[in-house]
């Protein structure tokens, strides 16, 4: 069953007389429960694609459906509700709230998400049960990213969106984080969309979408993706 459908999606950015076509008539579908990697060089349009899918931005033209719901025409408030309920974000620089503890950063989502999961249980699952009362600044980068993953999963979303989730980590920590991300998502049947320029991560994906100059160059399904441990970092 298709959980994500992009139909002739175009996103233009205008600056004075200049016009930048960040996404140009893009169409594709993604099946639920898959691990999808969107791969491409800088400026290819992969972040724009993630932003549109995450409800951070709206397309100039075309239709985006998530779980059958058209999100391309939603108002600001409706998009906020969509982000609160349907998608979980994992950022390159973690984006934790520095003034909240580890537990509170995850518990935070219960303020906006009625189906939020128990923060403590999730943090124990990501191996941070002993750091509940720590502030983000007291954790390593890998630990902070694990809090970020726990926060994204605590919403119990349909889709996890990850923007260069290992970009700020060393390769060993990055591999551990990816293994955790993948393991937890697979266990709960979530769809994961990772945007990256790291070719190695693509080896772990069920589906690899290659983007260049705002267009989709290829969509490749991998029958036997590698595990994080199997990938040579």
């Amino acid at each position: 069953m298709a959980i994500v459908e992009f139909e002739n999606v175009t996103r233009l950015y205008r600056s004075g007389e200049h016009e930048l076509r960040a996404l140009d008539d893009v169409s594709f579908t993604l099946e639920a429960g898959k691990f999808v990697v969107i791969l491409g060089p800088s400026g290819a349009g992969k972040s724009t694609l993630l932003n549109l899918l995450g409800g951070l931005d709206s397309p100039t033209s075309g239709t985006i459906r998530v779980s059958g719901r058209d999100i391309s025409t939603l108002s600001g408030k409706e998009l906020a509700d969509y982000r609160a309920a349907a998608v979980g974000f994992v950022f390159q620089f973690y984006n934790l709230i520095p003034t909240l503890t580890v537990y509170e950063n995850v518990e935070l989502v219960s303020e906006i998400c009625p189906k939020a999961l128990d923060a403590k249980e999730i943090l124990e699952e990501v191996g941070l049960g002993d750091h509940l009362r720590n502030f983000p600044s007291e954790l390593s980068g890998g630990e902070q990213q694990r809090v970020s993953i726990a926060r994204a999963l605590a919403k119990n979303p349909d889709i996890l969106l990850c923007d260069e989730p290992t970009g700020a980590l060393d390769s060993e920590t990055g591999a551990m984080v990816l293994a955790l991300l993948l393991g937890m998502a697979r266990k709960s049947g979530k769809t994961i969309v990772v945007v990256t320029h790291n070719q190695n991560i693509a080896k772990m994906a069920d589906v690899v979408i290659r983007v260049k100059n705002g267009k989709i160059r290829s969509i490749e399904e991998q029958a036997e993706p590698l595990s994080a441990e199997e990938v040579e970092w």
Partner: protein, 757 residues
């Protein structure tokens, strides 16, 4: 190229730059305005006193001085000039109720005047030199004839000159009038020759002296020269000089509290803002360093912002200060109705220019130090993004209920603790705003309460009848009985070396009342005296005081029975029976009656009459000056609140934009983000109000104590003042909070999430 960057960077921080310029302008302007006011009073009045040969000492004799006695005084070493002098309040002969003080300076070497139009002083002239303000208010012109009534006789003459005099720079009929009213009272001079030709005799109850001797030296020398103790009043004790000095002291007192608070808030807020901007500019600073710019050049570049903003703000502040001062100190300004003097030049105290330079230097140094902090270490270190302080658990979190607190509460409390200087500045801004509002509006309430007390609690008469000097007790009491009035005798006494007023009352008909400390009417007992509140520290109830009337060797000792609230004078009050039992000689100075001025006919014992309504009007016009000052303070408080809160609110927003963007991405609605921002403002405002309210009352109490030398004001704060102060402070805080919260709608989630914190 760096110059272009200078202007473009300034433009990118336009809200902060503008608010810093406004804050410095307001801080400097209000500080300078208030301090220029008292200094200008000191300078302009002292110049005017010098120009009109204002007397340093006045020697009084109820029986008058002879020419021989004058010569003895002139012969005292250290006396530069002396003249016999007469100043007597006379009614105009047209029964219009107008009166004026007629002065004669026998040899015109002391207590003279300056001519604004018409003929110069001529001791041979039979003309009258009239106050130009009285002439203007009453339609008199040069060449008109002025007729005055003096003890049944008439003095008339042609107005030959229009004048101003230091002796009447504050032209008041008596101690009960607080504001000049030239429609009803003025002054005039005639020559000694004219006095003799009109009355056939010359009576001079005063010798006015110019001398640099101390009061003790003059008293001793005069006693030795005349052979008896005469009442000597120094210029510091003379109403006009004392009032002018009082105004300057009052201005100095006001200038040393509220404007200083204003300036400190402005500077501290600017310091915080400059530091935060330097932090925001860290990457740019690092980039310039990495490109090869020397630290010195980068420091000069960024310090130029502090210098430029400080210089511009200070320059505008100086202009604002001059403008504010001119609102008060100009012929058409607030003091123009109080002081009558020819020159209204504005003066800046000597400490101000170095202080202003120090402010600019301080702001430049703050920029310099903030940037130097970001430049520390290698270029690579300078290029690293700013690392905010690590979070630590605050004392709030030690309580049991912390875990159960809502996210917004935790977030805001920790943000306040994390950004202590910013939060402290916001708190200081709100507190300052509250202090200014409570102080300003409270002063207005207090003055209104003072007027109300005077109008309703003390005064229960229609007309005050002033008696000529020298009327004995029997004649005065007889007049009082004729008019069915109460009477008072006022005379100078020496109490512990200070000149205070002895007041003997007979107020059996309840036309004039004596109030206690709590403004309740008291019936004075006959067994002792009542000290005014300003003399409270001289003796406790039950103790005794010893005093000596001027012109007498006698000393009297009396028991203190209580304290009373005196309107203007520092006084010791007693009943007629008490004065009789102590054997104190007294006369009658004034009678308070319910008869109207028109019903009271001409009488040799009467020097003039004053309608109670006129007296109250003069008080009201005095308080209208206070109202204008209060309005300036209230407006300044609101502007201060808006600028400080907006500036710090925007800084807070910028610093938290990444967190806000994260929350927005997570699905928080704009409304919720806005309420997060506003709630912190509201908390700090509540705290600011809680701190500012008692602090405002404390500052007001302090001001009233500092002003106690002039008036015995009882602190009064009406419910309206509390409500208006709290509502205005909250209103400002909420309005600014909403303004900042609106920005959360424009958060660019994508942009804000790029890069690491």
């Amino acid at each position: 190229m760096l110059l272009r960057k200078f202007f473009r960077t300034a433009w990118s921080y336009k809200a902060q730059v503008l608010s810093m310029v406004i804050m410095i302008m307001l801080g400097v302007g209000v500080f300078l305005g208030f301090n220029m006011e008292w200094y200008t009073i000191e300078q302009d009045t002292s110049r005017f006193f010098a120009d009109t040969l204002y007397a340093d000492y006045r020697i009084y004799s109820e029986t008058g001085f002879t020419t021989e006695e004058l010569e003895k005084i002139r012969a005292i070493p250290g006396v530069e000039a002396a003249t016999r002098f007469l100043s007597v309040n006379l009614d105009l002969a047209d029964d219009s109720g107008r009166s004026l003080a007629l002065d004669v300076s026998e040899n015109f070497t002391v207590s003279a005047f300056v001519v604004t139009s018409g003929a110069p002083y001529d001791e041979e002239s039979g003309g009258i030199w009239l106050s130009d303000k009285f002439a203007e208010a009453n339609g008199f012109a040069l060449g008109d004839t002025l007729r005055l009534r003096y003890q049944g006789a008439e003095i008339s003459g042609e107005v030959v000159g229009l004048i101003k005099s230091g002796e009447h720079m504050i032209c008041l009929a008596d101690a009960n009038q607080v504001m000049p009213d030239y429609r009803t009272f003025g002054f005039a001079y005639i020559s000694p020759k004219k006095l003799i030709s009109a009355l056939d005799f010359a009576f001079y109850p005063q010798i006015n002296v110019r001398s640099s001797l101390t009061k003790e030296e003059v008293e001793k020398a005069v006693g030795e020269a005349l052979g008896y103790t005469a009442m000597v009043v120094s210029k510091e004790e003379h109403a006009v000089y004392k009032e002018a000095q009082g105004e300057a002291t009052e201005g100095k007192t006001m200038g040393s509290v509220l404007p200083v608070l204003f300036l400190v808030i402005a500077i501290l807020t600017m310091v915080t803002t400059k530091h935060r901007i330097a932090v925001n500019e860290k990457l740019q600073i690092g980039t310039l360093k990495a490109l090869g710019f020397h630290n010195g050049r980068i420091l000069r570049h960024y310090a130029a912002y502090g210098f430029g903003i400080g210089l511009l703000g200070t320059a505008l502040g100086v202009a604002l200060g001059y403008w504010l001062c001119s609102l008060v100190m100009s012929e058409d300004g607030m003091m123009g109705t109080y002081f009558d003097m020819p020159d209204w030049s504005l003066w800046m105290p000597a400490f101000c220019p170095p202080l202003l330079a120090a402010i600019v230097a301080l702001l430049t140094a703050v920029s310099w130090l903030s940037v130097r902090e970001q430049l520390r270490g290698t270029a690579a270190e300078a290029l690293r993004p700013y690392q905010p302080k690590k979070m630590k658990k605050s004392f709030f979190e030690r309580g049991r209920g912390w875990e159960r607190k809502r996210f917004a509460v935790k977030w805001n409390l920790r943000d306040i603790m994390r950004h202590k200087s910013r939060s402290a500045m916001t708190l200081l801004g709100v507190t300052g705003c509250m202090i200014l509002l409570v102080g300003g509006l409270g002063m207005r309430d207090t003055m209104a309460g003072f007027l109300d007390m005077l109008d309703n609690d003390i005064s229960n008469y229609t007309t005050k009848v002033n008696l000529v000097d020298g009327v004995d007790a029997d004649a005065g009491i007889a007049l009082s009985d004729e008019l069915e009035g109460d009477w008072v005798y006022q005379s100078g006494i020496s109490l512990d070396g200070d000149t205070v007023v002895l007041e003997v009352y007979d107020n059996a008909r309840d036309h004039i009342r004596i109030l206690d400390e709590k403004n309740r009417p008291i019936r004075m007992e006959d067994g002792g005296v009542y000290l005014c509140l300003r003399l409270k520290d001289r003796a406790a109830i039950g103790e005794t005081i010893t005093f000596s009337p001027y012109g007498s060797e006698e000393k009297y000792t009396a028991k203190v029975l209580g304290y009373h609230r005196s309107v203007m004078t520092e006084s010791v009050a007693m009943t007629k029976a008490c004065a009789d039992s102590l054997g104190i000689p007294y006369g009658v100075s004034a009678v308070y009656t319910d008869r109207s001025a028109r019903e009271i006919g001409s009488d040799a014992r009467i020097s003039g009459t004053q309608d109670q309504q006129q007296l109250m009007d003069s008080f009201r016009s005095f308080t209208s000056i206070m109202d204008s000052m209060v309005l300036i303070l209230v407006l300044a408080a609101i502007v201060l609140g808006v600028v400080v809160l907006y500036n710090l609110g925007v800084l807070s927003y910028i610093e938290r934009s990444r967190e806000l963007a994260t929350l927005k991405v997570l699905g928080f609605r704009d409304r919720k983000l806005g309420s997060l921002l506003i709630s912190q403002n509201v908390w700090l405002s509540v705290l600011g109000v809680v701190v500012g309210l008692p602090a405002g009352v404390g500052v007001l109490q302090w001001l009233l104590m500092a002003l106690a030398g002039e008036y015995e004001l009882k602190l009064m704060l009406g419910p309206t003042t509390y409500c208006v102060s709290v509502l205005l402070t909250f209103g400002v805080s909420l309005a600014v909070g909403l303004l900042v919260a609106r920005k959360s709608r424009k958060i660019d989630m994508v942009e804000a999430l790029k890069g690491a914190e």
